[in-house]
């Protein structure tokens, strides 16, 4: 019975009691939120919530796949769009889960940190009255006097790096070790927050973009130059590093034998770059796994292909389109597909689409590509004239041709006209529409450019987390007590151990300790 309960009950004003329950409710909610069980459930919910994003293509990961998926699933798409399934890891509900986890973590860790700090200088608790109540205990009797045994126990435990209780403890020794375990655990959990901060910084303030750049053409780092660009929510366009670069030369090492013959093994792009206007020109050998860092921005070589240089002359003999056109590889042998558009051709627009063979061969009448090296390059194009639908307002990819309002040219035999051209060759189009020349072939490189602030913070965070984790998992935290009782026929020595980490075999510790205590006697 506590004193408060014996006091006569005082009628509380109603409003106050209402407030109290609200406070209680809040406190109760907080306690629930920061409980171990909630943390556990939130972790499981987080794991579950991450699943859909791995099964449905994500817009921010692979926008092409995502849009293809959307086209293929007409009924599901609007529902999924509402639920944010195409951007799971940026969705509000995903954020809600990990933010709850962060709150729970803070609510759990901060008080524990204070408790830990206060307990740092505390002494091991005194021995419980009845040691045999502890799950791990042992006893033996000896002829030695009590204080000899106690002194030996102190020495032994100190040598095993236990902290001993200094305050009087009766005829007993109380010891504890493994204080760093809890520290490791705290460091681990706090480091998880550090990782989150680092990660969030990158997602909010960074960007990721890519460009297909034809060899020899310069790139200047500004928004308009990118083919695709994914900025962070708080990304500042004006802060982009003003560098420029050009791929001067590109080397590929081709496999000539083995099961992957015809495919590429090593790539390297010789780059010249400047860090900004007026800065000196430098060069770099850009390779896969070997990015270039300019200020805080990084350049990666992630792909390559061919860009046939094609000139289209219109019916008036004017050049209607000319220059390298990147064709997109359909597989590792760089058999590629591409389109050429000549919207200003007269009398009508001209569009070309077709394939590029790096190593063309005619095997029994079937055209095949023997490998990715441009040993015998050939373009094989079909021709469309009419309206390429470029003025319709909606933007059109440069890699596809809208042929809905155009007509396909036929050859003299009435079949689809196909222009097969090697470098230097020109084909005349029928009906005086013009001509197409395949001048030469150059290579293009796909360069990924990204700026990820906070990545070192995140790295520091995970390394700290790992260190803390190891401390938390491998440091054994335990208490040991030794009590002696002198009786008529010798001394009774009781030993008990308590493991606080839940992963240890206290019995083994105990028997080792008892053996050591007896050992020195003999």
């Amino acid at each position: 019975m506590t004193a408060t309960e014996t006091r006569p009950p005082r009628p509380a004003p109603e409003r106050r009691s209402g407030e109290l329950t609200l406070r209680e409710l809040l406190r109760w909610t907080w306690r629930q939120l920061t409980s171990m069980r909630t943390a556990l459930i939130l972790l499981l919910v987080l794991a579950l919530a991450a699943v859909p994003g791995s099964l449905v293509p994500q817009e921010r990961v692979d926008s092409l796949k995502a849009s293809q998926w959307k086209d293929a699933h007409e009924t599901l798409t609007p529902i999924y769009e509402k639920l944010g399934i195409f951007n799971v890891y940026g969705s509000a509900w995903f954020a809600a889960i990990y933010l709850l986890l962060v709150v729970s973590l803070l609510g759990c860790i901060v008080p524990r940190t204070f408790v830990y700090a206060r307990g740092l200088r505390a002494q091991p608790p005194a021995a419980p009255r009845n040691l045999s109540r502890l799950p791990s205990h042992a006893a033996y009797s000896t002829a030695e006097p009590a204080d000899v045994v106690l002194e030996r126990a102190r020495r032994l435990l100190r040598r095993k790096r236990y902290r001993l209780r200094r305050e009087p403890d009766g005829p007993a020794v109380s010891a504890e070790r493994g204080y760093l375990r809890e520290l490791g655990n705290l460091v681990f959990h706090l480091a998880v927050l550090v990782v989150l901060v680092g990660f969030a910084t990158g997602t909010l303030f960074g960007f990721k973009g890519g460009v297909i750049l034809v060899q020899g053409l310069p790139f200047a780092n500004s928004l308009t130059q990118y083919d695709d660009f994914v900025p962070g929510t708080l990304f500042d366009v004006d802060g982009m590093d003003p560098f420029t670069f050009t791929v001067d030369d590109f080397d590929v090492e081709w496999l000539t034998s083995g099961p992957r013959a015809g495919m590429a093994r090593g790539f390297s792009a010789d780059l010249t770059y400047t860090e900004g206007p007026g800065e000196p020109e430098k060069s770099y050998d850009l390779r896969v796994n070997h990015p270039l860092t300019i200020d805080g921005t990084e350049l990666f070589l992630i792909g390559h292909g061919y860009a046939p240089v094609i000139t289209v002359r219109d019916g008036d003999g004017n050049v209607a389109a000319s220059g390298p056109v990147p064709f997109l590889p359909t597989g590792p042998d760089l058999f590629s597909f591409g389109v050429v558009k000549a919207p200003f051709a007269e009398p009508s627009q001209i569009g070309l689409q077709g394939f590029f063979y790096p190593t063309f061969a005619n095997v029994d009448g079937t055209p095949v590509n023997l490998g990715g090296n441009d040993v015998n390059p050939l373009v094989s194009l079909t021709v469309f004239t009419g309206d390429l639908n470029l003025g319709s307002g909606s933007s059109q990819s440069v890699y596809t041709l809208d042929t809905s309002r155009a007509t396909e040219l036929k050859g003299p035999d009435g079949k689809t006209l196909r222009l097969n051209l090697s470098p230097g060759e020109t084909a005349e189009l029928p009906d005086g529409l013009g001509s197409v020349t395949f001048d030469e072939v150059v290579s293009w490189q796909r360069i990924q450019i990204s700026h990820t602030p906070g990545k070192n913070v995140a790295l520091l965070g995970v390394v700290l987390a790992l260190l803390g984790l190891m401390g938390s998992l491998f440091i054994r935290s335990r208490r040991v007590w030794v009590r002696v009782t002198e009786g008529s026929d010798g001394t009774l020595v009781e030993v008990a151990a308590l493991d606080r980490s839940g992963g240890a075999d206290t019995d083994a510790v105990l028997s080792g300790l008892v053996a050591d205590l007896q050992e020195e006697h003999r």
């Binding site: 794991a47 293509p57 992630i302 792909g303 990545k455 998992l473």
Partner: protein, 334 residues
């Protein structure tokens, strides 16, 4: 030796290892059935007509003979498993030698599975003494055998040079740690399943192999130790070396690629397992269930996800093992 000869040697060694694992399994089966007979021999009819175990103090020659058989075949099984693992290792080494230039033998799914199963077998051998895990032998051997078959039948791929993106020393650090953790977690999953099965048996008489499976408490402890060993290594593989390498090769240290997502899910599930062990109402059974879920997500990520998602940059899963050549999609024109 030529590369082709090394390749042939590797394939033969895989077959030989599978045969020896199978022999080890047979030895375990004999051991197991002898165990059952010992139990039957040890049970006598009690005064009330019920069965009571005979006192161990009454030695009977047939029982002793059976016990000898158990011991002999148990040892034989362990020996055969050791031999099989050695041949398994040879298969891995030969596989690495068959590539031009020579390389680590984990560059595609077939090789990952070969290496992963080897680690499971090796861990079992190393730990069987320390944690008295010999009762787990039949399970480990069956598992390794089954996955080797999956590897040979479905995942086989001729040796090729490493794709450019894999060609990095991170391949060694990252994959060794990932496979090591996978091996440990797999064993932990097995001990957790044993825990759940044993628990379901409740007070059923401990006969046959069940008599040799450690107590629930001990099983829980063994599982925890194995997971506590695996978790930091998994953390290192998935959250440190993986992102560092991904950053170098693909420009983004964390891209929510399906492999990354499932590695993360696995990590979170194991973190939940470690929490469960210290949460009232979750320790024991629920924790063990979480450990099993962890093993499932782990192996799903290892093999299964490749068949569900095609947008992974972890391109070793597909034949198209070069750097990504995907188009720069929506360029505005016109």
């Amino acid at each position: 030796m030529t590369d082709a000869a090394w390749g042939t040697l590797s394939n033969q060694a895989v077959a030989a290892a599978a045969v020896v694992y199978f022999l080890a399994l047979l030895a375990h089966v004999v051991e197991w059935s002898s165990l059952r007979q010992t139990d039957r021999a040890m049970v006598v009819v009690g005064p009330g007509g019920g069965e009571v175990p005979a006192r161990p103090t009454a030695p009977r020659p047939d029982v002793e003979r059976q016990q000898d058989r158990v011991a002999v075949f148990g040892r034989l099984a362990l020996l055969l498993t050791g031999l099989a693992a050695a041949v398994h290792l040879l298969a891995l080494v030969a596989r690495g030698m068959s590539a031009d230039p020579n390389r680590v033998p984990w560059g595609n799914m077939y090789e990952f599975t070969l290496a992963g199963t080897f680690v499971v077998a090796a861990f079992y051998l190393v730990m069987s003494r320390r944690y008295a895990l010999d009762w787990l032998g039949p399970v480990v051997v069956t598992f390794v055998l089954a996955l080797l078959m999956v590897a040979v039948v479905w995942l086989y791929d001729a040796t090729g040079p490493l794709p450019e993106a894999l060609n990095s020393y991170w391949l060694v650090i990252h994959v060794v740690s990932a496979i090591t953790a996978t091996g440990a977690f797999t064993l932990g999953g097995m001990t957790s399943i044993a825990y759940l099965l044993k628990r379901r048996r409740g007070d059923a008489p401990e006969t046959g192999i069940w008599a040799r499976v450690p107590s629930l408490e001990k099983l829980d402890l063994i599982s925890y130790r194995i997971h506590a060993f695996g978790f930091p290594i998994w953390t290192f593989a998935v959250l440190i070396t993986g992102p560092i390498w991904a950053h170098q090769a693909w420009s983004s240290y964390w891209n929510w690629d399906p492999k990354e997502v499932w590695a993360f899910i696995t990590w979170v599930v194991y973190a939940a397992y470690l929490h469960a062990r210290t949460t009232a109402g979750w320790r024991g059974r629920n924790a063990a269930i979480l450990a099993v879920v962890g093993t499932l997500t782990l192996w799903f990520n290892f093999i299964g996800i490749n068949y569900f998602s095609s947008s992974s940059q972890h391109s070793y899963a597909s034949a198209q093992a070069t750097v990504r050549n995907e188009p720069a999609p929506w360029v505005h024109s016109g």
